[in-house]
């Protein structure tokens, strides 16, 4: 019997191919996910340092003395069992790009180091630096600055210095433990001369940042080093450092895997709909055959097993192709990914195993319902001409769907207060997902409910549209399944587009409300902060009438009830708030001279109101570097909307006790003549590669860029689900065209031209696709509304509808409809009239 079934499968090859396509794409996505995350792990973990027995750090109370004097290295070098003791220098260094500003790939505070022969460096071009005037660059940093061997590189250094040197080599770096990749490496003497912390005085010559010890016996080396150095130093073992990197690589892989798997799951879900739908159709078409099998004595279980065996075979075949494709895709993705340094490729056996598992399980699960229905075919069906499969009614499904939608909406509604906590956020999100699933369940009823009235409304004299619509509602379950597969991917795309649009709009409104249109903004080129000299220099620029230099740090807010909350503060000149920088006040006012202005969300969470007396506790360092808590009593002067540019609670600079650590990376300046001010600022900071001079819109672009990128990536990843669904549309159409050969023949005989038949099928396809599209976009925008509510605590309907994305999606769906119909329409147009009207 199995053989009969498999032969049958071969006879249906064309129809099977589309199912396979869905399995293949789903599996390929999962496998590619695995390959990418494994490769990422290999890349992050990279080659480990094997030449490191121990690493010595200074553990000092005094934050200004964290470096290690050279004599310590010499003492360590003499220890028995230590074959090598190398002092590593570290200092502020960043490559200046052609535009005179810094790049953003490396962390400038640890951007410079000294070249040595250890495993830290692997040359990918040229040689190591040997004398003054030579420098080697890290691969990623060199690429960002557009420099290669032989070029002249300008390096910004600590203590307000810079250096110009010839690039003699390009290297990749092998970090130990939590080390970061440096951007530049000088020879030992030059490094000693040039490298120092950012704000170090020019005459200070720091010692080593750490000392690397090598030796055959790690434990002996550590013991000897600890005995020699005593307290004040920390000795880390080489193996623990390797473990740290191992962990880091695992974490990286895990993060990537989880994120990608979420998308793969979406693609698989679309796949389940496509596969299940195809199996339903395949089984329906063979009802007679099952009846015959039953009539000649096959038991129900045998029929069921035969269908499931079919699914397993399909799953295996699909998985095999999918695994191969997935490995290829994964490796390709690693190649295309903008990863600095050398990329390692890895394909673990797990990738293959998971691929097969997913492929077979998904196929079998999808086919299970069909298998059960096939087994329920009565032997009598073989004798009837109009044999139909027993159909489950839609009632249960619809009731469940309605309940899910109602429940989901209720869950979201229940959380609507202005206080969103972790658990209410989770509840709202689960509600949204529940409602989303509910819509999938009621989709067949919606088909009837939406498309059938449409046939009445569109009293088109043209039969094409009418017949297409009728055909689409003919089997609501099938149309719904096809459209649902489309809806899954599309609704998520639209949800993210909605969140993206809302974020963009909110941020745009925020930045535009916070920064005056003609303000000149100074921003740190790398990693957010710059030193106080920028503020003083900016204040000295002629024409400045207002200057805000917000700087942030940590504090505790102690409410009237005595409960303390950790939070951020941002302090600035009270006079500048309202001129160079503005806040959107929701209660009280923004006069910092009268007290603290709290973030609205924080105030709600802490239960604080305008007029409340609170105490702010800061950690303040005295001249000797000793840190003590200092409390400042203050009134809550106002509440404000959160802002991308101003984090936490706003304070007057004057309120802050001395010695509180705070950092800022932006200065906002306004003047009487905006253009003149900008020119003056640009001139003043021309020699400061670490300071960018921008206007408001540039700031906005920079703030928006990261999530624009993320959104783009999300769209690409969700695209897989949409592609799978398109195969579903092709499949549904192809199968329904095959089912309708007779009907199409009669249609042709009565005078429908081939072109007309093609148009009818195409229109049906467009109707199905648009139905999926409208459903997907509608549900997606609502889902996005809830998502932005959960993320931003905006009201659900305060979302911004991404009109452009929606229009593009809808047009895309129409196109999908046309493309999906290409083959089925041609097939339909070829319907043999004579065969159709022949009686059996």
């Amino acid at each position: 019997m199995l053989r009969a079934m498999l032969r049958d499968l071969r006879a249906h090859l064309g129809r099977v191919v589309m199912t396979l396509a869905a399995i293949v794409l789903g599996v390929a996505f999962v496998v590619a996910t695995w390959v990418v995350s494994d490769s990422a792990a290999a890349t992050v973990g990279g080659a480990q340092r094997t030449d490191l027995a121990a690493l010595v750090h200074r553990e000092s109370e005094d934050p200004t003395a964290t470096d290690i004097p050279a004599d310590v290295r010499d003492r360590l070098a003499r220890l028995p069992g230590v074959t090598r003791a190398e002092g590593v220098r570290e200092g502020y260094a960043a490559l200046v790009r052609a535009d005179g500003k810094l790049g953003a790939t490396s962390w400038p505070d640890a951007g410079g180091t000294d070249w040595d022969g250890s495993q830290r460096f692997t040359l990918s071009a040229g040689r190591g630096p040997q004398r003054a005037g030579e420098v080697a660059l890290e691969q990623g940093a060199a690429a960002e600055a557009g420099l290669t061997v032989g070029d002249s590189a300008r390096v910004l250094l600590g203590g307000d210095r810079s250096d110009t040197a010839t690039v003699v080599g390009v290297f990749t770096y092998r970090p130990a433990g939590h080390e970061l990749d440096p951007a530049v490496a000088y020879d030992a003497d030059t490094a000693a001369r040039l490298l120092r912390p950012r704000d170090a005085a020019a005459d200070v010559v720091p010692g080593f940042a750490r000392i690397e010890l090598s030796g055959p016996d790690e434990r002996a080396v550590i013991a000897a080093a600890q005995a020699e150095l005593g307290p004040g130093f920390e000795v880390e073992s080489g193996s623990s450092l390797r473990a740290v990197r191992e962990q880091a690589s695992h974490d990286a892989a895990d993060t990537i895997r989880k994120a990608l798997l979420a998308f793969a799951a979406v693609a698989l879900m679309a796949g389940v709909f496509v596969i299940a739908n195809t199996f339903t159709m395949l089984v329906t078409q063979r009802t007679r055959q099952f009846a015959l099998l039953r009539a000649v004595g096959a038991r129900r279980r045998q029929v069921r097993r035969a269908v499931l065996a079919e699914a397993v075979v399909l799953g295996l075949v699909g998985s095999t192709v999918g695994v191969v494709l997935g490995v290829g895709l994964g490796l390709l993705a690693m190649r295309l990914l903008p990863v600095a340094g050398t990329v390692a490729y890895a394909v673990s056996p797990w990738a293959v195993l998971v691929g097969y598992l997913v492929g077979v399980v998904v196929t079998v699960v999808s086919a299970y319902g069909s298998a059960r229905r096939a087994a329920r075919v009565s032997p009598m069906a073989a004798l009837r001409t109009d044999a139909v499969l027993p159909r489950r009614s839609l009632v249960l499904r619809t009731v469940l769907g309605m309940l899910a939608v109602a429940g989901g909406v209720a869950m979201v509604a229940a959380t609507s207060s202005d206080r969103l906590t972790e658990s209410t956020r989770a509840l709202a999100m689960s509600g949204a997902v529940l409602a989303w699933v509910g819509v999938l369940l009621i989709a067949p009823v919606l088909v009837v409910g939406v498309l059938r009235p449409l046939t009445g409304v569109l009293r088109s004299p043209r039969p094409v549209t009418r017949i297409a619509l009728r055909n689409a509602v003919r089997d609501p379950r099938r149309t719904a399944a096809t459209a649902s597969a489309l809806m899954i991917g599309l609704s998520l795309v639209c949800a993210f587009a909605t969140v993206g649009q809302t974020l963009t709009d909110t941020t745009t409104a925020d930045v535009r409300a916070s920064v005056p249109a003609d303000a000149v903004v100074l921003r740190a080129a790398t990693f957010g902060t710059f030193d106080d000299t920028v503020r003083t220099a900016a204040a000295a620029v002629p024409g400045v009438t207002g200057l805000a230099a917000p700087r942030s740090g940590a504090m505790l807010v102690i409410g009237p009830g005595g409960t303390a909350r950790d939070t951020l503060f941002t302090s600035l000149d009270a006079a500048a708030l309202g001129s160079a920088l503005r806040v959107r006040v929701t209660a009280g006012d923004a006069d910092l001279r009268r007290g603290v202005v709290l973030d609205r969300g924080f105030a709600a969470e802490a239960g604080l109101h305008v007029g409340d007396r609170v105490r702010l506790r800061f950690d303040a360092a005295d001249a000797a570097g000793r840190v003590t808590p200092v409390e400042v009593p203050v009134t809550v002067a106002g509440l404000r909307e959160p802002s991308e540019l101003l984090h936490g609670q706003l304070l007057d600079d004057a309120l802050l006790p001395d010695g509180v650590a705070r950092q800022g990376g932006s200065v906002y300046a306004v003047g009487a003549d905006a253009a003149a001010l900008r020119t003056a600022m640009e001139r003043s900071f021309a020699q400061r590669p670490d300071v960018l001079v921008q206007d408001r819109e540039q700031v906005l672009d920079e703030v928006l860029e990261p999530f624009q990128l993320v959104l783009g990536l999300v769209y690409v990843l969700l695209g897989a689900a949409v592609v799978i669904a398109v195969f579903g549309v092709v499949n549904t159409l192809a199968l329904s065209v095959l089912e309708r050969t007779r009907e199409l023949g009669v249609f042709r005989a009565l005078g429908a031209s081939r072109a007309l038949v093609r148009r009818t099928v195409r229109r049906e396809s467009v109707v199905i696709s648009l139905y999926g599209g409208v459903l997907g976009i509608g549900v997606g925008v609502l889902l996005g509304g809830v998502m932005q509510y959960v993320i931003l605590a905006n009201p659900v309907f305060a979302m911004s509808v991404p009109w452009l994305a929606a229009a593009v999606a809808l047009a895309g769906m129409a196109l999908v409809g046309v493309l999906a119909a290409l083959w089925p329409a041609r097939r339909a147009a070829r319907a043999d009239i004579l065969a159709a009207i022949a009686t059996q």
Binding site: P461, P463, I467, F747, A749, L750, A752, R754, I837, T839
Partner: protein, 265 residues
């Protein structure tokens, strides 16, 4: 047949299936004309080529050789068309605008209501049905209260009557009906045949009908007898009895003929 006003005619119509040993000649140089405003029945044993003849006449099938003419509205009119030279689209248009069809079964599109099925050829042509005429037709088939039902909600006889109404409503030059009563009981069959008869008498419709049933042939103005792809006999003003007689005699002739051919070989 000098004054014979034909609606459709065929000359030397030959249709062969397959090739070599397996070759079957379904039609063998058939010359035939179907009178305008007449109900012509085609009879003959199974496999004699009745359906093939009709399909070739209707442009549904392409003959191996020979010609088929669809005459103009009146004799000698400019609307005269020869089918064999036409491409698929032209044939399709011809079928849509100038022919009507009633098949043995599976006539109607299941998603369309009776009314929509009836007007489908007109819809396809982008023409509006002549309401008065459509009413006459619908009245005649007695389907007034069934117009908004789907085919699945109609009985077999009702479905065939819908098909008849559809074939007539566009006032085609000729209606082809292949065993229109084949799937019906005698009562429903009689309804359909009575209706076709009335369309000829009252609307001057030309109808060509293939049938196995001598009673059905009794409704015709003229019966053509087909055997082995050749028209072997014809009968005017037939009654069921005369048709039956003729069939019997033809069968004996055929038996005799076959024997003699066998002897000659």
């Amino acid at each position: 047949m000098t004054n014979f006003d034909a609606a459709v005619s065929a000359a030397d119509l030959t249709k062969q299936y397959g090739s070599g040993d397996a070759q079957v000649t379904a039609l063998n140089a058939v010359n035939v004309a179907f009178g305008r405003g007449e109900l012509t029945a085609i009879m003959g044993p199974s496999g004699s080529g009745k359906s093939t003849l009709m399909h070739c006449l209707a442009g549904l099938d392409t003959p191996t050789s020979g010609q088929v003419w669809l005459e103009g509205a009146r004799h000698g009119d400019a609307g005269r068309v020869e089918l064999s030279g036409l491409r698929d689209d032209a044939l399709t248009t011809l079928r849509r605008d100038r022919m009507g069809f009633v098949f043995q079964a599976f006539n109607l599109l299941p998603t369309l209501t009776a009314w929509e099925n009836i007007t489908l050829p007109l819809d396809l042509a982008g023409r509006r049905p002549d309401q008065a005429f459509a009413d006459t037709v619908i009245e005649a088939v007695g389907l007034r209260d069934r117009l908004h039902h789907r085919p699945a909600e109609l009985s077999g006889g009702q479905q065939q009557r819908v098909a008849c109404a559809r074939a007539l409503v566009s006032r085609p030059d000729v209606v082809f009906a292949d065993e229109p009563t084949g799937a019906l009981d005698s009562r429903s069959g009689a309804e359909v045949l009575g209706f076709l008869r009335r369309s000829v008498d009252q609307l001057a419709q030309t109808v060509v009908m293939v049938t196995h049933d001598p009673v059905a042939a009794g409704y015709a103005d003229r019966v053509l007898f087909l055997a082995d792809g050749v028209i072997v006999d014809e009968l005017r003003e037939p009654s069921a009895d005369r048709v039956l007689d003729r069939i019997r005699s033809l069968e004996s002739v055929a038996r005799g003929g076959r024997t003699s051919v066998g002897a000659g070989a």
